[in-house]
């Protein structure tokens, strides 16, 4: 079974079980006690009324059962309450560990993550996976272990009365606690797999078509799609129907076993406790009544087992993730920190005969690139999508290593600088990410020790001070999820302010102005150039707006430099550039 092989090679659950072992044992013990008290209450009550019915001379004879009845009556809910808190507490502690682990795994690859997984919110998916593991514990693992504990205790306890009967119960209750869960796993496993696949297909298909809803409407084929979807949904309904039927049947069978257990216990008790109006016969009612509250602990196990399939995906996804967790070999000669400390202004960036290709790629993504940038120079990189612009940026930051050739900052290869590169190179993206916290915290990412005065200063420089001042809570205003409170232009300005605080000598702008209108774009570019004066600027763009503000323009095509020169020079001499310029400006 898949779930077993998954658990065998798992590194996301097993190692943590021992970590908070005491709390785990406590949670399981409390879960056990909940059922124990429930059973004991009925056991004790059954004895109490039987004993009372045999008309004892003295009420003190039943005094102990009376007190116990109350104790168990109170004990059950109290244990249950504490058990829920303890088990949640344990699971959440585990979650903290898992989150840290997930974060650390993803952090290694952070820069390329979005490139690798283009579709969907893969990061959201991982975070959901961790929630699934929480549920795996609370809804499957705990109830099953508690049920097994109870099973073991009952069989051992009955062993004191009769070995033979204990064996009978071992087998009968084994049907509920072991056999039926296994059958449920086997029978449902394949169906659930099928259910999941259809569901994923439906999900993908529906998302795809809802995104393209305008085309369905314009082509007047909307109803066609709905019936198409319903047909697919029909397959899912058939599978669901089968699964539900299994579930209902399973519940019925479970109850059949409970009925048999009851009859067997009555028969056994009749032999074990013979008596007439009392005596040993007082125990008969006790042993029979205890079945009903206790059986709840067993009847939930097959259902819990049937659910495990839901967690398989999450488990295997997380475990797959950690297979590439093996530390990447760092062949750095020197300590990045020392290297970084040795670098002093002015900074000169040099690219010598750079070639790069991805390990699986057929051709070189970049070929024989030579560039040299003095401190304060402004370079624009143009090129079509897929021409290697983004790769070049990764190389400049040292996130990728050249196959041959070198990129050096004052003679030091940038890839040797490791994480220290963030002291020298800042990046502003097409869609700068703002964290769902206050404006202040978002800015402080640039410099954790920045004072309010400094914050206002940079806001002033990027032209946002006025706007932020008018916000209800000023710097403490939350930016809302993904910075939705602000417009595209404003988000870019906040990102710029952050970079200013970071105070790096070299800034890479990766198409920061795409999807802005030309006037906003122009204003933004002017701000960028103005406030970043003195820093080396590398600006990736896809059209000519704002290009005249740059010192040097290069065109990348198929991994090679096609044009290279200052904007003025290109405008005067290069025919191709002139043509683009003409088109871009229009004819007036």
């Amino acid at each position: 079974m898949k779930i077993f092989s998954l658990l065998k090679n798992d590194t996301w659950i097993k190692p943590y079980l021992t970590k908070y072992g005491k709390t785990l044992v406590l949670a399981l013990f409390l879960g056990f006690m909940t059922f124990f008290c429930g059973g004991a209450l009925m056991f004790n009550s059954g004895y109490l009324i039987s004993r009372s019915a045999s008309l004892p001379e003295n009420i003190l004879v039943v005094y102990v059962p009376i007190v116990l009845t109350r104790a168990f009556g109170i004990g059950r809910p109290v244990f249950r309450y504490i058990e829920r808190l303890t088990s949640h507490n344990w699971v959440l502690k585990l979650t903290s560990e898992l989150r840290l682990r997930l974060y650390n795994v993803l952090e290694k690859d952070a820069v390329f993550f979005k490139d690798k997984h283009q579709t969907g919110d893969i990061l959201g998916v991982f975070s959901d996976d961790i929630d699934h593991i929480q549920n795996l514990y609370l809804r499957t693992v705990f109830p099953t272990i508690v049920g097994w504990l109870l099973y073991a205790v009952i069989v051992i306890a009955l062993g004191f009365f009769s070995w033979f009967f204990a064996l009978a119960m071992l087998l009968l209750l084994g049907v509920l606690t072991i056999l039926m869960p296994l059958v449920a796993l086997l029978v449902n496993g394949a169906k659930q797999e099928q259910q999941k696949q259809i569901k994923n297909k439906l999900y993908g298909g529906l998302t795809d078509n809802v995104l393209g809803v305008s085309d369905w409407i314009f082509s007047q084929r909307g109803q066609e799609y709905v019936s198409q979807h319903d047909a697919q949904e029909g397959q899912l309904r058939a599978v669901n129907h089968e699964l539900k039927q299994h579930e209902n049947l399973r519940n019925l069978l479970v109850q059949l076993v409970v009925a048999v257990v009851t009859v067997v216990i009555v028969c056994w008790a009749a032999f074990q406790f013979p008596g007439n109006h009392g005596g040993a016969a007082n125990w008969i009612a006790a042993f029979v009544l205890v079945i009903f509250p206790i059986s709840d602990a067993f009847t939930q196990i097959p259902g819990a087992a049937a659910e495990t399939d839901i967690y398989q995906d999450s488990l295997s996804r997380l475990n797959d993730l950690s297979t590439d967790e093996a530390p990447t070999k760092q062949e750095t000669v020197a300590d990045p920190k020392q290297l970084a400390a040795g670098l002093k202004a002015p900074f000169k960036l040099a690219v010598n005969d750079l070639c790069f290709s991805y390990p699986d790629g057929r051709r070189n993504v970049l070929e024989n690139i030579d560039l040299s940038l003095e401190q304060g120079q402004k370079l624009a990189i143009l090129g079509r999508s897929g021409s290697g612009k983004t790769t070049l940026i990764h190389l400049l930051r040292g996130d990728l290593k050249p196959v041959s050739g070198q990129i050096t900052l004052n003679g030091v290869p940038v890839s040797d600088l490791g994480d220290e590169i963030s002291q020298f190179v800042g990046v502003i993206h097409q869609a700068p990410y703002l964290f769902n916290t206050t404006v202040r915290n978002n800015l402080k990412i640039g410099d954790e020790n920045a004072t309010d005065e400094q914050l206002w200063q940079v806001l002033e420089r990027v032209g946002l001070a006025e706007m932020i001042r008018q916000l209800p809570a000023g710097l403490d205003t939350p930016v809302d999820e993904a910075g939705q409170r602000f417009s595209g232009g404003e988000r870019h300005r906040l990102a710029l302010a952050r970079i200013l605080l970071q105070d790096v000598p070299l800034v890479i702008l990766d198409e920061p102005t795409v999807s802005l209108d030309p006037v906003t774009e122009q204003a933004l570019i002017e701000t960028f150039v103005e406030v970043l004066a003195g820093k080396t600027l590398i600006w990736v763009t896809h059209h000519l707006q704002g290009l005249s503000l740059m010192d040097q323009v290069i065109f990348v095509e198929d991994g090679e430099l096609k044009l290279n020169g200052s904007p003025a020079q290109l405008a005067a001499e290069n025919e191709y550039y002139q043509k683009l310029l003409r088109i871009d400006r229009g004819s007036f």
Binding site: L85, Q220, V266
Partner: protein, 570 residues
């Protein structure tokens, strides 16, 4: 307690009566099961042999099974009912979404709509199959059992009758108090819960700032804070379950003690006492079941509400009009077409005159109303008021099937379906022949792409498969337009804004021939397109600032010239 909308579902009344009938039978079986097992136990207690109990035990097993058979049948029928009902709701929802379109998806978010149609309706299905039976169990079973208990001992019945409302009231009071407190903690709880996803999404930004390693500690710290917040919320949130549990088990304990005392005094016999003791947990069981699943069904209930909201969404369908095919002599006059968004102060108001196979360029800054105008023209947005004359036929909106079926709409990023390239191209013209498709591929310049793809035209493209560049997506949109020559009106909504300049130049060459013999409405902020337009409309703050041929507007030295200066500081 019960949603009125549930009763409107076809078959709901029948299933309810069936449920009631079976639940009554189930209650009788519960009582019978208790009586038979008690008979057997008491008889054994009295010293009778086991062999004399066989018939009681057989009856016990039969009644016990009858009880669970009732549950089985109820669940089977409910599953069927819920499955049919959810199918119907899902189809209604999708029909609505695929009829009304972006109006709904933009307001609700695409992700939301899909989640609603799939998971949301699954939750509704669970809600329907769980809540109905639990509700009826709660209404019927305790009272039937109470009557049975009263037959044996009215005092115990009276005690149980009195304790039930106390039980429920305590649960509700504690529930409310807990809710109140939990709500207060919820805000901080939510922030902490989202913090993790937020950090994962921004992980590259953290890396760029060299903070990503350090941030791991913060993740752990926040997660621990989250744990503490959750536990303190939970402490209170599960109080009401605790109260219910507490009163239930305590009541059973009290009943047991009362029964014991009655027996000692000789006012009661073992048999009735045993029946009452065994029935008491059964008396409380339905309400415990109901409260246990209450939170699970809450999701379904909320989803049901959200779906009904969409289903009740007013489509504002105008009277359908028969419109002739647009041709070289057609005339469209739009007078005083007004629209304003809910919260925005700007009222957009448009007057336009279009005729024949004109090419009309629409320019203006962000927020000038370009997109609003295009959305109004496509019929996806309803004007607050408008006088529209289409060849003399009066309309008050463009949400007309006869208008929309003549349109080709090409947005900034055309949507490419997760289908084969061929299926994407023939989307509007399903019966296109291979020759026609080949011609379209040739015309829009997709030949290279087709050659590059492993299975040529039959390669699956789109989200999650081979993704295309913006230029390629535009070419596919153009191919769709080329294939469907019956559509004579093309709406372009900034089709080249995302493209690099070189691709734009190549694409322009392909687009211009396609525009011939069409009414073209072209919204853009790339001014070089205006050279190709017959009419230029300049929008400013939601109004038409200027309209006329390019030459006229250049001479007028008005809004267009000002705009081109603002944009032209290259």
């Amino acid at each position: 307690m019960l949603d009125k909308k549930i009763m409107e579902i076809p078959g709901a009344k029948q299933i309810l009566s069936l449920l009631m009938l079976l639940t009554l039978l189930q209650s009788v079986a519960i009582i019978g099961q208790t009586i038979t097992i008690s008979r057997a136990i008491v008889s054994l207690w009295n010293g009778h042999p086991l062999s004399a109990q066989i018939s009681w035990l057989v009856w016990f097993v039969l009644l016990y099974l009858l009880r669970h058979l009732c549950i089985y049948i109820k669940q089977q029928r409910l599953d069927k009912f819920a499955s049919q009902a959810s199918q119907e709701i899902r189809n209604k929802l999708l029909e609505k979404v695929f009829r009304v379109g972006p109006e709904i998806t933009q307001k609700q978010g695409t992700g939301n709509v899909t989640t609603m149609a799939l998971e949301g309706i699954d939750q509704v299905e669970d809600y329907l199959s769980l809540s109905l039976s639990k509700m009826i169990n709660m209404i019927l079973i305790p009272f039937v059992i109470l009557i049975a208990i009263a037959c044996f001992d009215w005092k115990a019945a009276a005690f149980l009758l009195v304790i039930l409302p106390v039980d429920v009231i305590f649960m509700i009071i504690l529930g409310y108090a807990a809710q109140d407190k939990a709500d207060k903690q919820y805000a901080s709880y939510q922030i902490l819960a989202n913090h993790f996803v937020d950090s994962l999404r921004g992980i590259d930004t953290l890396k760029f700032f060299g903070l990503s390693k350090k941030y791991g500690h913060s993740i752990f710290k926040t997660s621990e804070k989250f744990r503490k917040a959750t536990i303190s919320t939970l402490k209170i949130a599960i109080l009401s379950t605790f109260a219910l549990d507490f009163f239930t088990t305590l009541s059973i304990a009290v009943v047991a003690v009362f029964l014991g005392l009655g027996l000692i005094n000789g006012t009661m016999l073992l048999y009735p006492a045993l029946v009452i003791l065994t029935l008491s947990p059964e008396y409380f069981l339905p309400i415990r079941d109901f409260s246990n699943d209450y939170h699970a069904t809450l999701n379904g209930k909320n989803a049901f509400g959200a779906i009904n909201e969409i289903l009740d969404y007013d489509e504002q369908l105008p009277e359908p009009q028969e419109l002739p095919q647009w041709d070289a002599a057609s005339q469209l006059t739009i007078t005083n077409m007004q629209h304003s968004y809910d919260q925005a102060q700007q009222v957009n108001q448009f007057d336009l005159q279009l005729h024949g196979f004109q090419k009309v360029g629409i320019v203006g800054l962000s927020g000038s109303g370009k997109s609003t105008l295009i959305n109004l023209l496509s019929g996806f947005l309803q004007p607050d008021q408008a006088e529209i004359s289409y060849n003399g036929i009066a309309l008050d909106s463009f949400k007309q099937a006869d208008w929309q079926k003549q349109l080709i709409y090409i947005p900034q990023v055309p949507y490419i379906f997760h289908q084969t390239l061929r299926e994407n191209i023939v989307f509007y013209q399903q019966d296109a022949t291979d020759e026609q498709v080949a011609a379209a591929v040739e015309t829009v310049g997709l030949t290279d792409l087709v050659a590059d793809l492993p299975d040529g035209l039959e390669t699956v493209i789109g989200e999650g498969a081979r993704s295309l560049s913006g230029g390629q997506a535009q070419r596919i949109a153009l191919a769709r337009a080329f294939l469907d020559q019956s559509r004579r009106i093309i709406l372009f909504d900034e089709p080249t804004a995302h493209l690099d300049i070189e691709t734009e130049v190549e694409l322009k060459e392909k687009m211009l021939p396609l525009m011939e013999n069409h009414l073209v409405i072209f919204a853009t902020h790339r001014l070089h397109w205006l050279n190709e337009m017959d009419q230029v409309v300049v929008l400013d703050h939601g109004k038409v600032a200027e309209a006329g041929s390019l030459t006229e507007l250049k001479q007028a030295d008005g809004a267009l010239v000002k705009l081109s200066h603002a944009m032209g500081r290259i």
